[in-house]
């Protein structure tokens, strides 16, 4: 398993940040390379919510299924996913001077076939780190402006 993490301060109330970030419907809007989350069920966010995801990295589709395994509003969400990339996404939020400190931690392991189709581990690690940083930047742009 490899791990990447990043955090950012968003000048919005913690509840608003949590509600946007925790919904799988909003994933493609702020997560780079995540093309779509489909078959989201049930509609209501919470533990047990499942969905299918499709990433596109350098023209190669990665697919899999995900499930929300921990849901503690407005501070923490954990999503476990399996498929071409097995990963656990942990979103942690805390109040910070009138705003919200949002942190993302991703533990991931790419299936060997998917890995071979794209690049080596060092490149993937850089891409994953860039993804966590960019997703938080995007979140800030969406919620603050």
């Amino acid at each position: 398993m490899s791990k990447v993490s990043s955090s950012i301060t968003i000048n919005k109330p913690i509840k608003e940040v949590f509600e946007y970030m925790a919904s799988p419907h909003n994933g493609p809007a702020f997560i780079p390379n995540l093309n779509e989350n489909t078959n989201i069920f049930p509609e209501e966010d919470g533990v047990g919510q499942k969905f299918d995801w499709r990433f596109n990295m350098a023209g190669v589709d990665l697919r899999g299924k995900a499930e929300v395994t921990e849901y503690a509003p407005p501070t923490k969400v954990v999503i476990s996913s399996h498929g071409d990339a097995d990963s656990t996404w942990t979103y942690t939020l805390e109040e910070a001077g009138g705003g919200t400190k949002a942190s993302v931690e991703i533990d991931y392991e790419l299936a060997e076939t998917a890995l071979q189709r794209i690049a080596n581990k060092a490149v993937i690690s850089k891409l994953a780190q860039k993804t966590t940083e960019q997703m938080l930047e995007n979140l800030k742009v969406i919620l603050e402006t």
Partner: protein
């Protein structure tokens, strides 16, 4: 001669990347302006040894420069309604204000997006920056994803 073979290899790779891969997965083709210019140059380099087509190479070069200057996307495989829906959905996802204009939309009070149907399911999407905000740029990225999520 090596220039011709290099161009030929690039032509095959770019054709696969822009057209064959998406269509083989029944997804729409979407080529951005930079991709057009690269493809145009490679096509011109590949065809240059054929003396009969040299006059057409000038046309290809002019079209490539035109596409680079006007920031256009070529989309094949979806209807105009689907493209409009993708843009409205993208603006909603990024919480960007969207205003309907004649033949297009204005995103986040700045970026103008024009949709033009060329023929059948072939479209040109053009972007004219007013005040291109970060949110407008992000909406453009999400718009591209949503178009590519459709099936042909």
């Amino acid at each position: 001669m090596w220039t011709f073979y290099t161009a030929l290899v690039l032509f095959v790779l770019l054709t696969a990347y822009f057209f064959v891969f998406p269509l083989s997965k029944k997804r729409p083709v979407l080529v951005k302006h930079g991709g057009f210019v690269a493809y145009g140059i490679v096509v011109a380099m590949t065809l240059y040894p054929l003396i009969e087509v040299r006059p057409f190479l000038t046309v290809i070069a002019v079209v490539a420069i035109f596409l680079l200057f006007f920031k256009l996307w070529l989309v094949y495989g979806v209807t105009e309604t689907m493209i409009s829906d993708a843009l409205v959905k993208a603006a909603s996802a990024t919480r960007a204000p969207i205003e309907k204009l004649d033949g297009g939309y204005k995103i986040d009070n700045g970026l103008k997006v024009r949709l033009r149907n060329i023929v059948g399911k072939v479209h040109i999407i053009s972007f004219k920056k007013g005040d291109g905000s970060k949110k407008a740029k992000l909406t453009k990225v999400v718009f591209k994803k949503f178009i590519q999520n459709y099936f042909v």
